[in-house]
Amino acid sequence: MGRVFFKPRVAEPADLAFARSFAGEGPRAQASAGLVFFWAGLLYGLQTLVYAAIEAGWVKVAPPFGLWLAIGPTLPFLGVIAYVAWRERKGKGGVATRALTASYTSAGLLNLIIAVTFGWLAISRQSTTIWLLYPIVICAMQGAVWYAASLIRRKLWLGVVSAGWFVTTLALTVLMTQVAAYLFCLGVALLALMAAPGYAMRQSSPREREPETLRTEKSVDTGSDTDPQAAREALAFIKALVDRGEQVQLSGGVLLLSGGLLYGLQCLLHGLDMSGSLRLGALGHLINGILPTLLFLIVVGVVLWRDRHKTHANAGSRAINAAFGGVGLANLFMNLVFGYAAFTQKLWLIWMLYPISLCALMGAGWYVAAVAQRKLWPALVCAGWFATAVLLAWRVETPEYLLILSGALVLLMAVPGYLLVRSDAGQRA
């Protein structure tokens, strides 16, 4: 009978189910994500290239075909999504695989929020510019997702795809006034940076999933017997090692706390000024506009210096911190995109869309944290950010807009930041 070298904890049926599903979940999740990316990139990439050809005057489309062209890719793509959701319904990954899958899913959620908010604003304001900003936000989010994937899986090619998406984000921003070139660039990006990597992910995963082949290809010594009790304990050990969401720690509590408070106060003062409850004056506006960013950059500098040698304790922590790192990177690009577009188009409304995108990005980041940690409060924060994005779109260009944003920054950024700081201090003690 085999030795008992595991902690004496009796496995439950859940351990058995988890271990069985877990062993192949990484490649399975990769194959599913690859399938979704491949079809999304192919269908929407080709659709966008046809639109580019129409815009350039190379192709003419009669009205009934125009409708089919608009909705055509969505119908088969919904079929792909339904198939993947059905296939993955029982998948149980470890915390890193869960976080990576959640990163991919969060891009879909953000797409939905941005499509609804920007779509509604574009229609209500009769603005093509607003609608053209929607794919740009999605490109930045794709950059964030692939960036997180490259840090989680530690593969260079994923980082190259991420860089490609960020370059596309900037290229589309510059091409906004030349719609045919804009659409052509977007179509090529969808094919090269979504369909092609999706195909590669799909192709590479089955090779890792066929245990049968190894039995003939490679002879290994399978000499040890074990007793069922030791086997149960081994399964429990595996589950405890890779499935504990409570081990996953999100860093950057100080940044969230200070950012939430500084920008929350900034928005509150601007909101009160807009509503007539407070008069800031020219100097007040200047100080309120610059000081929070100045102070926040100092805090960022101090935190980056303090944590320069810090490494994450486990793959789950690395995964959710990578997801938030991606959100931060995408936010930087969003800042440039909306600033440039608002300046060149001389339209203040465009700058007001930036916080809506930021809220959706924050929601996506907290979605990954909620899935990885399996805790309720990050899920509530995620829902709060998505709800704020919709509320802001509804109340854009009103004084309430800034008050809503101020409340969200304090409640959904500063308060979670404070909780993370306290949790971090508790663990160090």
């Binding site: 271990a19 066929e210 290994v220 399978t222």
Partner: protein
């Protein structure tokens, strides 16, 4: 190896530390040496010995490099390692089901 005995486990994986390494890498795909040392609560020497055994079996790939001026050892699970781990779990699960 002719005939596959469901009661017999792959010796290269069969051990608390080696099983832990394989389970962790099956999820994370790659991990730094210090990360593995921390999550598995292992000593440096012990972890090195068990990683070498897994590397000899072709189940992990060890890449030594530098992060800045500090040496960095990174461990990746190989496709063969992933397959062997899946089979190990299959055997373990079968054992629990059959005899419980």
């Amino acid at each position: 190896m002719s005939g596959f005995d469901v009661n017999r486990l792959d010796d290269a994986i069969h051990g608390r530390l080696r099983l832990g390494i394989m389970a962790y890498l099956a999820d994370a795909e790659a991990a730094d040496f210090n990360e593995l040392k921390g999550v598995l609560e292992a000593t440096q020497g012990n972890l090195s010995v068990h990683l070498s055994k897994l590397e000899d079996a072709g189940y992990v790939e060890i890449i030594k490099g530098y992060q800045g001026k500090k040496p960095l050892t990174r461990v990746h699970i190989t496709p063969a390692g992933r397959q062997a781990f899946a089979r190990y779990i299959e055997v373990l699960s079968g054992l629990v089901e059959k005899r419980s």
